[in-house]
């Protein structure tokens, strides 16, 4: 039997969800017998592959690059999981929504810059006007709130999914957990 294909993605978040994922520690080794990690900031694959079974998406949709990526991820993934509060509520990245994108780039690249005052046009994707939760852009199959979800939450949810069970998310975690 071929192993389940797992991907993890880091959009506009702090990587705290990935850190918490790694905090499963030795339990991750036990679980890893049951899946192949086919795409992740933790491994060195450059393109998001076809036929992914589960994708854990950290972070909100904040840039044109995030928007581009999330459509590809959705197309190539059976079960898309919004991982953590940034993906679900926009959380801290979304706090710029009350100022607008221009106020942010102006502050970062003009007001507080002493030299070379310019908005970078190469290598850094443009910010979209409003930060959006993942489910406003593509359909999401499961929501895993928390800032970040705890390692125990990750372990229980992944164990359940790998065994074909539906995890009871609300009993495990909440917004801001």
């Amino acid at each position: 039997m071929s192993k389940l294909k797992l991907a993890t993605v880091w959009l506009d978040g702090c990587s705290g969800c990935h850190m918490s994922f790694l905090d499963m520690d030795e339990r991750l080794i036990t679980l890893s017998n049951q899946f192949d990690l086919v795409f992740s900031p933790l491994v060195d694959f450059k393109t998001f592959p076809e036929g992914v079974d589960i994708a854990l998406v950290e972070g909100a949709i904040s840039s044109v690059e995030d928007e581009h990526k999330i459509h590809i991820i959705r197309e190539r993934t059976k079960m898309l999981i919004a991982m953590g509060d940034c993906a679900i509520t926009t959380n801290v990245p979304g706090m710029r929504n009350s100022f607008g994108a221009k106020a942010i780039t102006d502050h970062a690249y003009f007001t507080t810059a002493d030299l070379q005052q310019q908005v970078p046009a190469v290598g850094v994707p443009a910010l979209i006007e409003k930060v959006r939760p993942v489910h406003e852009v593509v359909p999401v199959d499961l929501f895993l709130p928390g800032c970040p979800p705890s390692a125990d939450t990750f372990y229980t949810v992944l164990s359940d999914l790998l065994a074909g069970r539906t995890p009871d998310i609300a009993s495990l975690t909440r917004f801001g957990a």
């Binding site: 509060d85 959380n91 009350s98 709130p145 917004f175």
Partner: protein
């Protein structure tokens, strides 16, 4: 049977198929809780007058197409109450989503994170995401009081602060201004809190279910609220 027992007006009713008995002056919420039946609430607080502001405690009563707030609906003989129908679950979830979408309820950067009743109720109702687009307003944060802060972005307009200030402290500094989505709690006639007639008793801080009213000394540390002083205070006052 003793003479006093006969003088109590007892009603019998059915909640979720279960026969329960109640005194005539009790609300559906009182009786449900006495019988271990959970009805979610946000604006209700033991020790304050109920106003039915949050609508989370809505229940169905057989024979009426309307929904009734359990906290302000008195029991009646033969009433058949359903507290957990599919329709109610749907409405409660929508109410919570509207609350989360209306103002800033980013838990991760809230002083009340982990001690918030809105956050806790969302979890008990299985809310894992909000289907409505978030409004991104920016309301005032009033830091003019030397000890306390009012962050209107976190307020759900439950009016507990208004009631505790008027009913228990007797100062009635807090009230609600505006209508609909523009409603906001205010101190005196919209004076800054620090310049108002506030007595600095801190009762509103303890009853606020979210991080809207908080103590400056608790910023960056855990800020549990202690509304349980209220029934005790009322009991001691009644005893005098």
């Amino acid at each position: 049977m003793s003479p006093t027992a006969t003088s109590v007006d007892v009603k019998t009713l059915i909640i979720n198929g279960e026969n329960v008995s109640a005194r005539a002056d009790q609300t559906i919420l009182d009786v449900a809780r006495e019988n271990g039946i959970f009805i979610p609430t946000l604006c209700h607080l033991d020790g304050l007058t109920d106003v039915g502001a949050c609508r989370l405690c809505l229940v169905e009563i057989k024979g009426s197409p309307k929904l009734f707030p359990a906290c302000v609906t008195k029991v009646e003989e033969g009433m058949e109450v359903d507290t957990n129908s599919e329709r109610l679950v749907h409405h409660r979830r929508t109410i919570l989503e509207l609350l989360f979408a209306e103002r800033n309820h980013v838990c991760a950067v809230c002083v009340a994170n982990g001690n918030c009743e809105l956050q806790a109720v969302a979890q008990t109702q299985g809310l894992t995401h909000v289907r409505l687009p978030y409004r991104v307003g920016r309301l005032e944060v009033d830091t003019s009081n030397e000890r306390f802060v009012a962050d209107h972005n976190r307020c759900i307009l439950c009016s507990r602060c208004v009631r505790v200030c008027a009913e228990i402290e007797g100062a009635h500094v807090w009230d609600i201004m505006g209508r609909g989505i523009n409603s906001q709690v205010l101190t005196d006639l919209h004076e800054p809190w620090g310049a108002s007639s506030c007595t600095r008793c801190g009762k509103c801080i303890q009853v606020c279910p979210t991080g809207a009213l908080f103590d400056k000394s608790k910023v960056g540390v855990s800020h549990p609220k202690h509304p349980e002083f209220l029934p005790y205070l009322n009991m001691m006052r009644d005893g005098q």
